[in-house]
Subunit: 340 residues, 2 copies
Amino acid sequence: MERTELNTLGEFGLIDRIKSKFTNQNAETIKGIGDDAAVIDVGDKYMLVTTDILFEGIHFDLSYTPLRHLGYKAVAVNVSDIAAMNGIAKQITVTIGLSNRISVEAIDELYEGIKFACESYNVDLIGGDTSASASGFVVSITATGFVDKDKIVYRNGAKPNDILCVTGDLGAAYFGLQVLEREKQVYLANPSMQPELTEKEYLVGKILKPEARTDIIHELNELGVVPSSMIDISDGLASDLLHICTQSGVGAMVFEDKLPIEDITMLTATEFNVSPITAALNGGEDYQLLFTVKQSDFDKIQKVSDVLPIGYMTQDTAVQLALNSGGTAAIKAQGWNHLR
Amino acid sequence: MERTELNTLGEFGLIDRIKSKFTNQNAETIKGIGDDAAVIDVGDKYMLVTTDILFEGIHFDLSYTPLRHLGYKAVAVNVSDIAAMNGIAKQITVTIGLSNRISVEAIDELYEGIKFACESYNVDLIGGDTSASASGFVVSITATGFVDKDKIVYRNGAKPNDILCVTGDLGAAYFGLQVLEREKQVYLANPSMQPELTEKEYLVGKILKPEARTDIIHELNELGVVPSSMIDISDGLASDLLHICTQSGVGAMVFEDKLPIEDITMLTATEFNVSPITAALNGGEDYQLLFTVKQSDFDKIQKVSDVLPIGYMTQDTAVQLALNSGGTAAIKAQGWNHLR
């Protein structure tokens, strides 16, 4: 039999390949594969469904990931996907794959983090699956949520001249991970060394315990602003902006000097000899919201703390970064392309 | 830190432990952990949500599991959980964990099986997650479905004197697995041997490609019968009947001579020197429906082909098997108790 390596397709190629094979048969199914969450018509409202899986050794390293934080993060990233449709998550199911390395106390810690997130985001744990896993530790969460039908936001609604906005700051989670990896190597070389993380606390917090921006969804709702398109930044601003552009059939111009990057991120970028702009564009795991609004909503948007306009959408489909040095550079996608 | 081994809790102990920590906060959440599917109030109807994960090396062995069948089965077992609430599944999300051992052609095969099941059960694939996995191959599916509010069936509604019914036949999947394991050992000992499975086709089909009994749900609906309690048999009749009994606060008397066991299952039980009754009670993976009905529904139930009354529910909470030899034996639970 022929054998094509998955690496030749990459993540997005694989998703496109799967999507092309399926068509929806039920009238209730409004949106399937291809956005932050699927959309089901349940009568008065739309129900949103999203799912994310976290594998030990791929998404987290138990040597520096407290299980409490892992539990919190696993919930937050799903709540974030529901937020990216302009919806509010209400329920989650939690599935775990376990080996005998994991103690009851460790599971308790994981679920303490999950519970803390459930309380923080007002979400109910309604079910799941617990299974033995032949290999590593696995956490898979599915979230359901609701949105008013006239307020749903897809990736494909951006129009030329819409303003591109982002919440919070970018690149911090990327450097948080670099710091943890460095401390792990130091520890492995000399186990008597204690990690020195105090000054990097902000960065480490961003990778270990990101927050879903449901606060922004509530604020936009109160202001009566419905974004024309939205996505949450999981793979990196570049990759996620390209999803909006491709699906909306538009381009974008992003201003380098508008990218929100914290001082500690800047400092740490110098330390690691990595461009902070590259980290902001391609670092990923920020879980901030990236969205577009009509120009007429600009005044309202400026009232929302922690939302920053960083560019605008264009008729021309090029997706570009306007450089501080003058000129532009093309913004390119990322995603996993290599499996072990 | 104290360390308690998970094996001391077992699967059901762990689920109870998790359940005890959480309370639901949203009015829409009707039923959380503890049934075949969670129940969410979405207005006119109830939405049902269920999830199941399958790990390579635990739930399937790629050396004798065609990926097409694995895909079909992964969908069917979730559709079966929705059916066990008297509902009809409408959507699924599919999450896969991949290593570089898996080719694009293998993924295509998996999704062909998933597609075949989607068409067979009229279910839409609406999303999922594709991730690298540090180790084995993993398939996690979440299904959503609907049921009329006045037709939902829980595990906890059985009443004394209700009739206990089961669909199809039992124990075949258990022996299908034994046959596959035996042929694998023969093959490993001598790779030139071709497996001889023709006469065991029925058994092997039951483990590799079980069907969800949505046909029974439609038939019951047409007859106007709403079971008083229902569960699908995944862990084995014994274990699943005990869930109904515990949650309903009743006992049961099951007649050994009523247990539906096919001739080929009987024959193979002799071959493997395993009691066919033990396989029927504790084999698991049958994915048949186990349900109770009021005595007044008995006449209607007899019109449904492939449904068999096998006993009745009792005020006394003992759960017993009435033996052919006279006397009774206690029916005991199973579930996973040992992790590797």
